[in-house]
Amino acid sequence: MTHLLDKLLRILVASFIALMVVVVTWQVISRYLMSDPSPWTEEVARMLLIWVGLLGGVYAYREKAHLGIDLLPQKLGPVGRKRLSIFADLCCGLFAIAVLVVGGSALVQLTWELHQTTAVLGIPMALVYTVLPLSGLLTAWYSFVSIRDYAAVDGDGEGA
């Protein structure tokens, strides 16, 4: 389950980045070679960035790549380090549920009711903002997986 999710997430974020390159390149080509500037490229690229930023954020969280200060964890023994890791994951998971899932869903609902759409293509903003609860759920899931993995390891069994 988690493996499949990892794979899906990786494919999704990598294709979004590749798509971004294509869209922005198309913007330059359409302006110069076809002297007919494409009206939609900028908007699509911006929406892609929001999705890449947030879903990529989940991927980085899964890979434990987000920057943090590990001065205190390094000074502690294995048990303390394990507790801190669990605490940090708990913080991330709770933040994801509160802000991204709850706040994000409210935002999706609000923009849906107000019929807010993007300027050029008329994409509902609610659709763009769907990435908030989506990445929130994923972050919460990965935080749970990470905590479970830490808890499964004996305090002194874990290396650096």
Partner: protein
């Protein structure tokens, strides 16, 4: 009061090892909950996060990260080093100069100080140690020289500043970064020259003209990227974001067809690595934008401006104070949140003092790049120690004169606007 909540929650979470992006988000939320109802607070933070990423300028960041990854895959570091060796290798302490110049050149292609440190450092540090340079000196020099890439375009952090400042032209910032970046490189080479005299660093061999020509030719395709990107921006052919896409295409062609170092099968991996780097920056941007919003909402920038301006009305003194605060901030905080959070706070003060937003941005980025190689939190410093197989406690001694040199360069850029403004003005990028 509310600001106390923000500061306490933020630093507590940071110290406990919560990732910075989340620590920023959680402390922002905590601050908002003091004065706003729960659901509106949650919705606002979510909205600020998504809205913070909604910018065509920021789009340039993943593109330059991707082109840097593509360029960095192959032997570009080696080619740049060989080229720099032809230029300065024969001087006493030549390898130190080669290190600084290749880091600067690498920075103008990749824009990541960490990438420069590991790519250039993994070639240069063993070579320097073999030739009798102290290991700690080599590591310290690589770390500091790598930070020039923050100022020399393409630079992601300058893009972040452009967004934070609300509309300074990225093109102007890019061009304005050249002289200050080169100034740091010169400052570091002065330190190297003093070391070379004192410790009798060896000189490399003078190269024949034929070798010079062949090494230069080998480096030209990589260096051409600079011409395309900066030339295109200066000539008004494309925006910085579009330049990013063109850079990706050029790097892709170069790496696959010309150098043949990247195979199509490598591409998914390169895309994923770029996504990872991008995502780390983007989540920092998202939550920092939310924090910056709550600070504005609580009227913090105006309070800081008033406090600073009542403290003294001497611009020289105030700029010095701002610089010292930023140096301390930079020692603890990553550059991206530092720029996003402190630009709205200090920029109004700088404007009040008659500084241009362009000049202030260059000063701020230059200042914060010193923080990249200062303990306790210095990403570049950690990488340099890992690659150079030394420890932070040991490289601090040679770092001190380098910090001093960088500080002198910073003061020159702070008090002489010409360093950051002359080139952009010359190219008509600012009025």
């Amino acid at each position: 009061m509310t600001i106390a909540v923000l500061i306490i929650v933020f630093f507590a979470l940071l110290a406990l090892g919560v990732p910075i992006a989340f620590a920023i988000g959680i402390s922002t939320l905590a601050t908002m909950l003091v004065s706003v109802d729960t659901l509106p607070a949650l919705t606002t933070v979510a909205q600020r996060m998504a809205g913070g990423l909604d910018s065509f300028s920021l789009l340039a960041i993943p593109l330059f990260i991707l082109s840097g990854q593509l360029m960095g895959q192959g032997g570009i570091a080696k080619r740049l080093i060989d080229f720099a060796k032809c230029l300065v290798g024969m001087l006493p302490g030549g390898l130190a100069f080669v290190n600084v110049i290749s880091c600067t050149l690498f920075g103008s292609i990749s824009g990541s100080a960490v990438a420069a440190t590991s790519a250039i450092g993994s070639f240069m540090m063993p070579t320097m140690v073999k030739d009798g340079y102290p290991r700690e000196f080599s590591a310290a020099l690589t770390a500091t020289a790598a930070t020039t890439g923050m100022l020399i375009p393409p630079s992601n952090i300058l893009i972040v500043y452009a967004v934070a400042s609300g509309g300074v032209s990225i093109s102007a910032l890019f061009v304005g970064g050249y002289l200050p970046g080169i100034l740091i490189a010169i400052a570091l080479m002065v330190v190297s020259a003093i070391y070379a005299r004192r410790y009798n660093f060896p000189a490399g061999e003078r190269v024949s003209f034929g070798e010079f020509a062949s090494k230069t030719m080998a480096a030209v395709p990589s260096l051409l990227l600079i011409v395309i990107v900066i030339g295109g921006i200066l000539g008004g052919v494309f925006t910085a974001t579009e330049a990013g896409a063109i850079a990706v295409l050029y790097a892709l062609l170069l790496a696959t067809l010309v150098h043949g170092e990247v195979k199509l099968a490598h591409l998914p991996d390169i895309l994923l690595k770029s996504t990872l780097t991008t995502a780390i920056v983007m989540l920092l941007i998202a939550t920092s934008m939310a924090m910056s919003w709550i600070l504005a909402f609580e009227n913090i920038p105006a309070m800081v401006a008033e406090a600073l301006l009542t403290l003294s009305n001497n611009p020289i003194l105030i700029l010095l104070i701002i610089n010292i605060i930023l140096l301390i901030v930079g020692a603890f905080l990553d550059m991206t949140p530092a720029v996003l959070i402190f630009t709205p706070i200090f920029l109004p003060v700088a404007l009040e003092l008659g500084m241009s937003p362009l000049h202030f941005g260059i000063m701020m980025v230059m200042n914060l790049s010193i923080g990249l190689c200062t303990p306790p939190v210095g990403t570049v410093l950690f990488v340099a120690c890992a690659v150079g197989k030394t420890r932070i406690a040991e490289i601090l001694r040679p770092l001190i004169p380098m910090f001093l040199a960088m500080f002198v360069a910073l003061m020159l850029v702070t008090y002489i606007p010409g360093f950051s403004e002359w080139l952009p003005t010359y190219f008509g990028l600012v009025e």
